[in-house]
Subunit: 204 residues, 2 copies
């Protein structure tokens, strides 16, 4: 028995209510709530209020949903690394630009980045994402090292540790940031830069 | 049928191999790996290599294990708030002292604090822990506000946001800290303080 299938990933399908983007948005919310491993296609279908076969109109299964969601977060983060503010100028300023862009991206893509940052590498798709995360971390570490070489880094700070802590600060946003309470992405980026570039302690 | 039970929480029981502390250590590792919700008493017993009833010699069930583990992390963190370095002196220095102590505690009690920081409030025990976490956060926010009032905070930084970011940085350690790679607790605390109190950017 052959069933006519709607073309995948067109962003439009026969079933009303969901295109791939809105389906992905719901799936990511469920993954973040229940954990990816704890989410079955049954659970997804129930939460979406559609049948499992309606989900298969869009994607081959939950693995593909995870892949698409992680790629969305990673592509957004990597896009930040190719902007002019990150590819020219003094390295300390490039680093600041990347921190600001990363805060923007975390705020704009919060559920997707949250999913990415919780990935532990249990499946091939997750391990692929971890490899790209590591590439991003190494890019950041490279900027910090160059800033140190240009003499713009506070003396005594280890570049590797500094880059881990710096993005530890940025990434911590997913744990506590609430737009209503904690202000806009711009205010948040200003606060992150003030803390991590100028420091809390008022200069004498 | 009545079975003689070893006294609970004595730290010593009839079964060889586990006292409450070592049982708790394994349980916390399993909770961190599989998630608390995803860990059954069967899974715990298997991982411990003992029977479920041997676990019941020590605790009433997995809820009590969670409660004990979260209390251990919280008690350690709160102990830091009553040290002399945090109860006297200028507030900016009290804050620095608490940050250093908190880094020490995270490193010393890493699995317990990891469990604490992943709690989402799905059960009464978790909600109780979240209430205490909030008290800790408010204590930190209080120090930051007083430091601002004493004129020791970098101008333009919002005290509430600063305290969230500061402990966001500290708490991020659970995601990436590896003792072999990232140095001792002392080196780590120095780096955290250098980043968040002095800032990355070398003063002109």
């Amino acid at each position: 028995m052959t069933t006519a299938r709607a073309p995948r990933r067109t962003g439009q399908v026969g079933r009303p209510g969901y295109d791939l983007d809105s389906l992905l948005a719901v799936a990511v919310r469920v993954f973040n709530d229940k954990g990816y491993d704890g989410t079955s296609m049954e659970v997804l279908a129930k939460r979406l209020g559609i049948t499992k076969s309606s989900i298969y109109h869009h994607v081959s299964g939950k693995t593909e949903l995870l892949d698409l969601a992680l790629a969305r977060a990673l592509n957004a983060l990597f896009a930040g690394t190719t902007e002019e503010g990150v590819t020219s100028g003094r390295y300390i300023d490039r680093l600041e630009h990347l921190v600001r862009r990363s805060v923007d991206i975390l705020v704009a893509e919060l559920p997707y980045v949250t999913l990415l940052l919780r990935v532990r590498g249990n499946t091939a798709v997750e391990r692929k994402a971890l490899v790209r995360r590591r590439e991003f971390d190494e890019f950041v570490a490279g900027l910090v090292k160059e800033a140190a070489a240009e003499g713009d880094l506070t003396p005594g700070i280890d570049p590797m540790l500094a880059s881990r802590l710096l993005f530890g600060t940025v990434n911590s946003l997913i744990e506590w940031y609430r737009p209503q309470r904690d202000g806009s992405a711009k205010e948040l980026a200003d606060a992150v830069v003030l803390l991590t570039f100028d420091g809390l302690r008022r200069s004498p």
